[in-house]
């Protein structure tokens, strides 16, 4: 039951302010379970943000971004009806995405 990226956005003076919350453990690979076993590194490595299908921002993250990452960014020339999409890929090859239609 994987949760989707949560996206919120509002347009002000043609600039969209997008806020996102991504479900992800962001394990550093140095934490130990009670058993003593190390929890393997599992973190988002790349985030790509698109505006109407065009890439506008690409982030690279290390495991020091917090668990269930929050990420806010802005996009110029935004209008109601525009589609903002965010897609993450992690070090294990998994990915997740979310889409928002701006109002």
């Amino acid at each position: 039951m994987a949760a989707e990226i949560k996206l919120r956005g509002k347009i002000k003076d043609g600039v969209a302010e997008i806020k996102s919350l991504m479900p992800h453990p962001m394990e550093t690979g140095t934490r130990r379970e009670e058993s003593g076993d190390v929890v393997p590194a599992h973190y988002i490595e790349e985030v790509v943000c698109q505006h109407n299908g065009e890439s506008v921002l690409r982030a690279e993250w290390g495991p020091s971004i917090s668990k269930n990452p929050y990420f806010a960014f802005r996009v110029r020339n935004a209008s109601p009806g525009d589609v903002i999409s965010v897609r993450w890929t992690d070090n294990l090859g998994e990915s997740g995405s979310g889409e928002l239609v701006l109002k």
Binding site: M1, A3, K6, R8, K19, S20, L21, P23, K67, N68, Y70, A72
Partner: protein, 275 residues
């Protein structure tokens, strides 16, 4: 009595013991009066924000987190769990008034038939058992998620917990627990949250007890998950070197009853994030 703190304790004990036979209504008035005089510049309602009502810098950070809080996923999980049918086709909605939405502020309540305090967590598991389902672990993620959803649907409701004649014993037991010292550190809940409310404990600011039960369940950054009020009771007890009791044990339910009664007139604002 060389230690001035002891003198304060004795005075407090005398004052408090004189309230031992007071009615819950009188206790509440005295409780509120205490915090009003201890924090004259803070509205009583604002203590629902705990330590975030007491420090600007902490509050600013907290508001940033609350803008898009980490417990949002738990609310969604809770909603999905809440709507899932039991194996007999019924669901949680059939066990509660208003189909279980917007009712968290009514808990805990005193069940006169069973003769005990019923918290919402207890009611959820009793609902499950009534419909042939195994009970949920009180310290697990599912109960926390369900509570997060139920708190979310109840935001803005005002507390008006009732203590009927039959419930006085449980109320008094909860009150007793609150004022009773325990553990290696020999602290009572009141030691930190009443006598030292607003004070510092190393780098922590001690929150006031008035409003303590309003914002549960809570996403503690420390826990990196949503946890229940009883999770916190256990943690607090262990932190003073006392044994944590079982979640939903009678002692904790009675304590929750007392604490929530002391929230009467305040608004439910759970789930919430906390440090």
């Amino acid at each position: 009595m060389k230690n001035p703190f002891d003198r304060v304790l004795l005075l407090s004990a005398v004052l408090l013991s004189s309230f031992a036979l007071a009615s819950p209504k009188e206790d509440l008035a005295a409780f509120r009066a205490f915090y009003e005089s201890r924090f004259p510049e803070i509205e009583l309602a604002d203590h629902a924000d705990g330590a975030y009502a007491l420090d600007e810098a902490k509050r600013a950070q907290w508001l940033e987190m609350e803008d898009f809080p980490p417990y949002e996923f738990a609310i969604d999980e809770g909603e999905a769990l809440f709507e899932m049918a039991f194996s007999d086709g019924e669901s949680y909605a059939s066990c509660f008034q208003s189909e279980g939405r917007g009712i968290k502020h009514l808990y805990p309540m005193f069940d006169e038939v069973a003769g005990e305090v019923v918290t919402l967590e207890l009611a959820l598991n009793r609902c499950r058992e009534a419909h042939g389902e195994a009970p949920l672990d009180y310290e697990g993620d599912e109960i926390a998620a369900l509570m997060a959803y139920m708190a979310y649907t109840s935001r803005g409701q005002t507390y008006d917990i009732k203590v009927p004649e039959a419930g006085l014993g449980a109320y008094e037991a909860g009150k007793q627990f609150f004022y009773e010292r325990r553990g290696q550190l020999n602290f009572a809940c009141s030691s930190c949250h009443l006598q030292s409310g607003g004070g510092m404990l190393r780098a922590e600011i001690l929150s006031a007890s008035v409003g303590h039960a309003t914002h549960w369940p809570t996403y503690r950054f420390k826990w990196e998950r949503v946890g229940t009020l009883h999770d916190r009771f256990i943690e607090c007890n262990e932190q003073v070197g006392a044994q944590g009791l079982a979640p939903q044990s009678a002692s904790y339910r009675n304590l929750e009853y007392f604490l929530t009664y002391m929230n009467n007139g305040m608004v439910l604002n759970g789930p919430a994030s906390r440090k």
